[in-house]
Symmetry: C3
Subunit: 447 residues, 3 copies
């Protein structure tokens, strides 16, 4: 019996010392770095009581906490329950889906607070954090959860932690380039979260290609109950996506508008997903994979433009298209990617985050380029795109160009980063499972 697995021998998946060591050392590192760098923002610091007076704030309700905390909690649910349960569809990988997602996200948010903090909230040597930092950390980790979807079931928890460390780092760099250098708008992260996360994950899984993965094919499907658990994830992602896309928008009309646009896009997306799920199947029956995933593409695809004047019908159009693109992707593209391009994408993130993320970037660029004072109002236009300071003279069409550049940068960063991290994860020291024990909780969990 030949065993042509790429690493050539039985895998050592024994985690007893490696995993604890990584967890403990890294957490100690977090404590030290937080100790040196992280403090409360003025609105979370006990000095607020005095600062309020000097800043002429008349009411405690003006604290950013009340503008953003409900959205933060919704985003938090999306990251931990949404992603965790959505990935629970595999029949024997429920612990791994929800448990490893929990682990990597819990580490990732800490590291993200630091990385994003150094780039965005660094003042006089300290990172001053408030509720917006928590949201941004969750967002950053969201892109890691997306990449996790591509390699779900095929990696050890240590690999996932290594991936998280590196991906969060690169995410922060990419985000800095987009938001600060290119001055791009991307409040719901079509580019920074979805495009970057998806193509990062796809590149990784290409590098980590397992030629004999069919040895665990019997475990790669779902069973009735695992599909129902996955629907919990789907619905929480779907319902709370308006909060996701509006969470860090400007106070007032921008948050309001972003929620409405996302609500509309997601609603339309459900209809076209159902239509194509039925149409593309000979017996005309609906496929739970599509319902679980493609219905969410509408949220991804307005991630850049939701806070702009996309308008409700514009959102419906975007959702309409993305439900189709995503479902068609599951039916036709995923098998081709696997057979021809050797991209083994467990959750089909290319269909849910990759293509819709790209569409989202493009829609954002177009919407920005089409902005006018007529539609936004003079002050509204300045506020919406932050045409202030050194960007005072930037026009909407130029903004559109920079938005487009943001897509390209995100893609390049994702390919390069995914290749790098994929290469590192390929080292035979991380305890990944053998081909025949992929998609199986028993490897890393007491069952």
């Amino acid at each position: 019996m030949e065993r042509p697995r790429h690493q050539g021998m039985a895998k050592n998946t024994y985690m007893r010392w490696r995993l604890p060591l990584v967890c403990l050392l890294w957490e100690v590192a977090m404590i030290i770095l937080f100790g040196v760098f992280v403090r409360f923002s003025p609105e979370a610091d006990a000095h607020w009581e005095e600062e309020k007076q000097t800043m002429n704030v008349t009411s405690d309700i003006e604290n950013d906490f009340y503008f953003r905390y409900p959205s933060f909690q919704d985003v938090h649910v999306m990251i931990f329950v949404g992603f965790g349960f959505l990935m629970m569809f595999l029949k024997r990988y429920g612990f791994g889906a929800v448990g490893f997602n929990f682990l990597l996200a819990a580490f990732g948010i800490q590291w993200a607070i630091l990385m994003q903090g150094w780039f965005h909230s660094f003042e006089t040597g300290k990172i001053l954090i408030g509720v917006e930092n928590l949201i941004n950390a969750d967002f950053c980790v969201g892109s890691v959860c997306i990449a996790f979807g591509a390699i779900l079931g095929k990696t050890s928890p240590i690999q996932l932690l290594v991936m998280t460390l590196l991906q969060v780092t690169l995410f922060a760099v990419n985000e800095y380039i987009l938001l600060n250098l290119l001055h791009v708008k991307d409040a719901g992260g079509s580019m920074t979260i979805h495009t970057f996360g998806a193509y990062f994950g796809l590149t990784m899984t290409l590098i980590l290609h397992r030629p004999n993965l069919e040895q665990s094919k019997d475990k790669q499907g779902s069973v009735y109950h695992s599909d129902l658990f996955a629907m919990i994830g789907t619905l929480y992602l779907w319902m709370y996506w308006p909060s996701f896309n509006s969470a860090i928008s400007e106070h007032g009309d921008a948050q309001h508008r972003a929620a409405i646009n996302t609500y509309c896009s997601l609603a339309a997306c459900v209809l076209t997903t159902v239509a194509f799920s039925s149409m593309l199947q000979k017996k005309g029956k609906l496929d739970m994979v599509h319902i679980q995933n493609a219905t969410l593409a509408g949220g991804v695809a307005v991630g850049t433009s939701a806070e702009m004047m996309l308008t409700p019908y514009g959102s419906l159009i975007v959702g309409f298209i993305c439900g189709i693109v995503s479902t068609v992707g599951y039916v036709y593209l995923t098998p081709v990617l696997e057979s021809r391009l050797h991209i083994q994408d467990t959750c089909g993130i290319h269909n849910l985050h990759g293509m819709p993320g790209l569409i989202g970037g493009i829609v954002g660029a177009i919407t920005a380029a089409a902005a006018t004072e007529d539609v936004y109002g003079k002050e509204g236009l300045i506020k919406a795109f932050d045409f202030t300071g050194s960007y005072k003279t930037r026009t909407p069409s130029v903004q559109g160009g920079f938005q487009a550049a943001g897509i390209v940068v995100s893609l390049v960063m994702a390919f390069a980063g995914g290749a790098l991290v994929g290469g590192i994860l390929k080292l035979p020291i991380w305890g990944d499972p053998a081909d025949e024990t992929c998609f199986e909780d028993d490897v890393y969990w007491e069952v």
Copy 2:
């Protein structure tokens, strides 16, 4: 072997062209209608930045978004997870319960924004939408989810979409009559949502009566795990009901009060449900059907009066009664309705929404009629019942009369509408399942 099914021959449940066609055409219609009619409300429009100044609004926190968005998200969870999972109790209809609920609600909210918009938010030719419109759309769809409960497992997805289209339309008409013509208060929808939705659904299922439904009786029960999934739905409905009943109340004390009253009513309801569930069963054991459903009746029954000065102990009394009524209904009334009146009510919506909805309307009428300046304060009374403009001279007792009229109108609309829609759904073109394949996911889903 005789086959006395009312349509006389094997059913064609093939959805491949019919379902996609309906979904795509209707979604295109939504896009066109949204394009013509729907725009952002001032608080969600980029002009807000300028408008704020002319309207003398000093802070972004005064935006309606911050008053209502957290409640909106809770309501959203109730519609999609609450109803979707509550209906998952059937052993082999989990995909249909959560999936079809998802489909009809996603379509329904779009159509509801239009229908309710034409009646309530139509200004200078446009429907201007904000977060309150999203809540109202969710509310409207809630009544469709209720009606769905009566026909759960016995209908095709196309039938459900047709039902949604028509029921949302009639809902909006009924709501217009009550809120605008009768000037009735019904913030939590005891009349407009629950009474209307329940009797609409019950009339439909009467028309759609299946004399040989016992052929699928083995699938009409629950199994251990499906009951646990259903409890997710129950708990989310129960926990978030205070948000439901307060979501569109006036800012300030009314929202605050509505949440408290609902919290109290629901708590009391649990106790009497448990009491009667145990008492009405020979072995004294608790029945999950009652815990899943009757515990929620307290929320339905304060849907009209929660924002009024019902008081906490008044709410406890209402909840106390409704837990009893609803549980007794499940034990004694549902079997009679089925055997004598040919009303096959899959989820027992008569017990959860029908009777408690009626009680809610009556409690609302009494509470309104009993209102005094002493209890509300002079200005408080005017604000609570909106005794302004052409209603300046209306007295509480007259208001009580109009509230009572609202119940009657809702019932009449429900019976007439349900009969009409039931008749339409009976046409043998919608692909409904045969009697022996009811309550079975396999008909419309890849399992």
Copy 3:
């Protein structure tokens, strides 16, 4: 065949008259007491419209509802879904876990509103309730849910109701001593909720010791799906804990800070839980029991100090330690407690709430004692510890001493109360299950 069970004969678990009687009579008592005592607080009363003007409140958004309602709903989810589902890990006790938790919590919140109201919100003969009272009632019931965890599967619903009545009463007394007499800060309840609840429950289960519990040992474990349901509970507790610890803190910076500290502590806790779960197991595999429980210890342990200037890195340190303590407790301490001390702790509440609660009290005392004007600002320090009125001259170090005293008082109250209630529950009249039918839904539920 000898039958050495401590009560010596077959148990009568027939609930048909006893359970309904208790539920109905107690609910009637609630109605009467609410009727006599409970009214709306000014911010929930219709007079608010007028009162606003006299109190010079310019906007409805200043209503406490908008400061606390989103957090309230998160806490509500923690009590009903969080605890209910976390306890669902037993293979045959899902109905009992979620259903009895629902029952006792629904009763408990009503009684808590009264008990806490008499101590804290009693004005001119009435208890005036607003959203903060609802949160506090949920908090109080949280301590009952904790105690329930120790006796899960071994008690009848009547016992649970009796326990709730008495524990809520004693909780309110203990809370009054701590908050009012000792003037202790404990916004997230490390002492009042967790320490008190845990040691109350542990004392009860000691008194109720079942020497032959191994007769139902086969049912005391989990199965794959029950572990996944339990993860729903875990994640909702974990995600919403920042809301729990910040829900009743002062408006503004204190709420903001409490959320951030809790977020940090919980994140760190996950890493050390995973590390020790793997390390303490020969095969190095992760144990779902630890992931489900010990990951939450970080939330418990900052329950007192989260609203103080614990700082993010301080929170990480606390979470780091508690993940270790809790996991080690599950592996080494729980078996010893059971075999040596006869403490049969079904859910391991000693590891999740007991030890972390004590740590939380100690961390709170230290953080309070270490407070300086430099760190808090002059006004900030006064506000944070409410050094006003008769406490105007109290210093941080004295406050630290009182905080420490609060731990001792909570422990004494828990031991004494648990012994008393355990003794009452031991009476052979409450219908508890026989040793061989523990952890089995079939006893009290139609399955």
